[in-house]
Amino acid sequence: MLSIRDLHAQIGVRKILKGVNLEVKPGEVHAIMGPNGSGKSTLASVLAGRAGYEVTKGTAHYLGDDLLALEPEERARRGVFLAFQYPVEIPGVNNAYLLKAALNAVRKQRGLQELDAFEFLALIKDKMKLMQMDESFLSRGVNEGFSGGEKKRNEILQMAVLEPKLALLDETDSGLDIDALRVVATGVNSLRSPERAIVMITHYQRLLDYIEPDFVHVLSDGRILRTGDKSLALELEKRGYDWVKQEASAA
């Protein structure tokens, strides 16, 4: 589904990704862990199409197509979803408007009819219940005045509504208390399916207690240094990242 080969990316002259390789197949859940500043968000941003990054080498293919050649909206419509580490507040653009416009854009791409206001509301209400969000959120500006936890829940709500094929979650767990973490995990788990792949970027292993990954990767200084299963996350929790770096440089 997603195939990243030797991906190099930089901002200005600053090299951040230095040869990332990653294969993600439908149905898989991957966790990418790594110290602060190792390039996790950069990888997510490059995959989602944020401006300002220069890919100097390597490729990323999504369902066989050159992902990097597509406009951000085109990626979204084809089923790539990025849950932002820092969702932006957009006062004056209301949540319901965004959800509906986004959903209809995706549906159009899939050859489905646009939903009318009634069908849309019915769908949204279900998903909001799942995310334990009050309906009053719909009439508010996008993320406007939301607490950190509400913003993260709103990202997962959008994901639940859009039903992407490839979900990239950038530190969706950070800043959440244990109850909110459970809600977010429930939302994510509800989307697990054989056709869908999930890539979770996280700092802590605690999210992985709720959403069990098939693979765990360690990204450090712009490279994936090690790949393992869930036990790698537990080991990282105990021993930190340094030993991974040392072993990698020894090799």
């Binding site: 989602a48 199409g49 944020r50 401006a51 406009e71 951000p72 909206e73 990626r75 979204a76 419509r77 979803f81 990025l82 932002f84 969702p87 932006v88 957009i90 006062p91 004056g92 653009v93 408007y97 965004l98 416009a101 986004a102 854009a105 995706v106 791409q109 500006g141 996008v142 959008q158 859009l162």
Partner: protein
């Protein structure tokens, strides 16, 4: 007498006035004095501070024919509200009813002429208000009775129309008696058939405790020239509210002057303008705080794109003695494409010591982070840009509490933004 500036244009209007005069109502002396004043002031020159960013060279080069009284009916867009009066080139198509939508109506035949043909001293549009007083053909006086309160909106559709380039000089005087309350909607349109010039005057007075909300929609055609002066005097505890939407015309200038004369008088002047294409839209607001505890808010949102140009000049003067006054000014501007320009100048003069004043002005582009966020959810770039642009105008649009009008302005902004953004992407 001062020297008469006799540019070819002023000569043209003097001669046109002389020809038209027999058909104009009212005593000759007021009309002649007004024409004289216009001729003295002439068109603004290149160094005129009040016209620093707005050139009238093109307007001055044209020879518009001042509209004569007529009774032919005109095409107008559908009304926004139930009660609507249509004025063609400033005069009613049929006989003017004695009362309309809670207002008593007065004309040159029935109302004091000095109330209907006033001129105003000062400001960049003094000359045009004088020209209007000379040439207006059906000035209307709308007055309320003391304590009379109405929440219904009364619409006045002002249509500029003619078989050739026409100068229309509509004039509305509003006298709000003490304690009365009303809402008026002024809708400026034209027939689009020619390059017309609308030179409008609103002359408003609010008695003690009166409240007037004036919604203004300027949606004239792509070739129109539009100049307007809103002059408002606000008495004790009275409040004048203007909700402006400046969307049309090739060149438009609105001067709003509010004089807060009585204790605790207040005003709120908010508006949006959209200078797309090669439109030039200029709004000048001046609020004089002349009494204690007076309050004012100016909040304009300007949008410019392509070769569009916006000008906003907001000023508040807190005069000596106007203690405990509060003057706030906000002006935010959005440039949607390179090449667009908005010149803004917030200005505050304070001659009292116990006052609260603030002004803030910003000019910028759409937030790229917000744009990326919306696109990452599948919205096309034009959709995302138009959503953010509407949001930008939203805070001011939310104050337009006449739903049908608000919807119209929203839709119009939408339509124009999508067209614009799709064209430029």
């Amino acid at each position: 007498m001062s020297a008469i500036a006799s540019s070819p244009a002023t000569v043209h209007y003097r001669e046109a006035f002389a020809r038209l005069q027999p058909q104009l109502g009212g005593t000759a002396s007021l009309r002649v004095a007004a024409m004289q004043r216009f001729a003295e002031l002439g068109f603004p020159g290149a160094r005129d501070e009040a016209w620093k960013y707005t050139s009238l060279r093109r307007l001055e080069s044209r020879r518009f024919v001042p509209a004569a009284p007529t009774t032919t009916s005109v095409d107008v867009p559908p009304a926004f509200v139930a009660q609507r009066l249509v004025l063609a080139n400033g005069s009613a198509a049929g006989p003017v009813p004695a009362a309309f939508g809670g207002f008593t109506l007065g004309t040159l035949q029935t109302a004091p002429e000095d109330q209907l043909l006033r001129t105003f001293v000062g400001g960049g549009t003094e000359r045009f208000a004088a020209l209007n007083a000379a040439l207006t053909i059906g000035p209307l006086l709308l007055s309320t009775a003391a304590g009379q309160r109405s929440d219904d909106v009364v619409q006045l559709s002002l249509v500029t129309t003619g078989t050739g380039p026409t100068l229309a000089s509509p004039r509305i005087a509003v006298r709000m008696a003490p304690g009365s309350r009303a809402r008026l909607l002024l809708d400026h349109v034209d027939d689009g058939a020619h390059e017309h010039f609308t030179n409008a005057v609103l002359d408003i007075e609010l008695g003690a405790g009166a409240h007037l909300t004036l919604y203004r929609l300027q949606r004239q055609g792509e070739r129109a020239f539009h100049i307007e002066r809103i002059e408002s005097r606000v008495g004790e505890n009275a409040c004048f509210v203007l909700r402006d939407s400046q969307l049309g015309a090739a060149l438009a200038r609105l001067d709003t002057h509010v004089s807060l004369d009585g204790r605790a008088a207040g005003t709120e002047i908010t508006g949006v303008f959209l200078a797309d294409g090669s439109r030039h839209l200029d709004s000048h607001v001046l609020v004089d705080h002349r009494a204690i505890e007076t309050t004012s808010l100016q909040d304009y949102r300007g949008i410019a794109a392509n070769k569009g140009r916006g000008v906003f000049n907001g000023k508040a003067i807190v005069h000596a003695g106007a203690q405990k006054s509060n003057a706030r000014q906000v002006n935010r501007n959005l440039l949607l494409t390179p090449g667009a320009e908005i010149d803004t100048k917030p200005d505050l003069e304070i001659y009292a010591d116990d006052v609260q004043c603030s002004h803030g002005t910003t000019t910028g582009q759409l937030d790229p982070e917000a744009l990326f966020y919306l696109r990452s959810r599948g919205l096309s770039e034009p959709e995302a840009r138009s959503a953010l642009t509407r949001a930008f105008a939203g805070a001011v649009m939310a104050r337009v509490d006449e739903p049908v009008l608000a919807r119209h302005v929203h839709d119009e902004l939408d339509r124009r933004l999508v067209r614009l953004l799709e064209g430029s992407v």
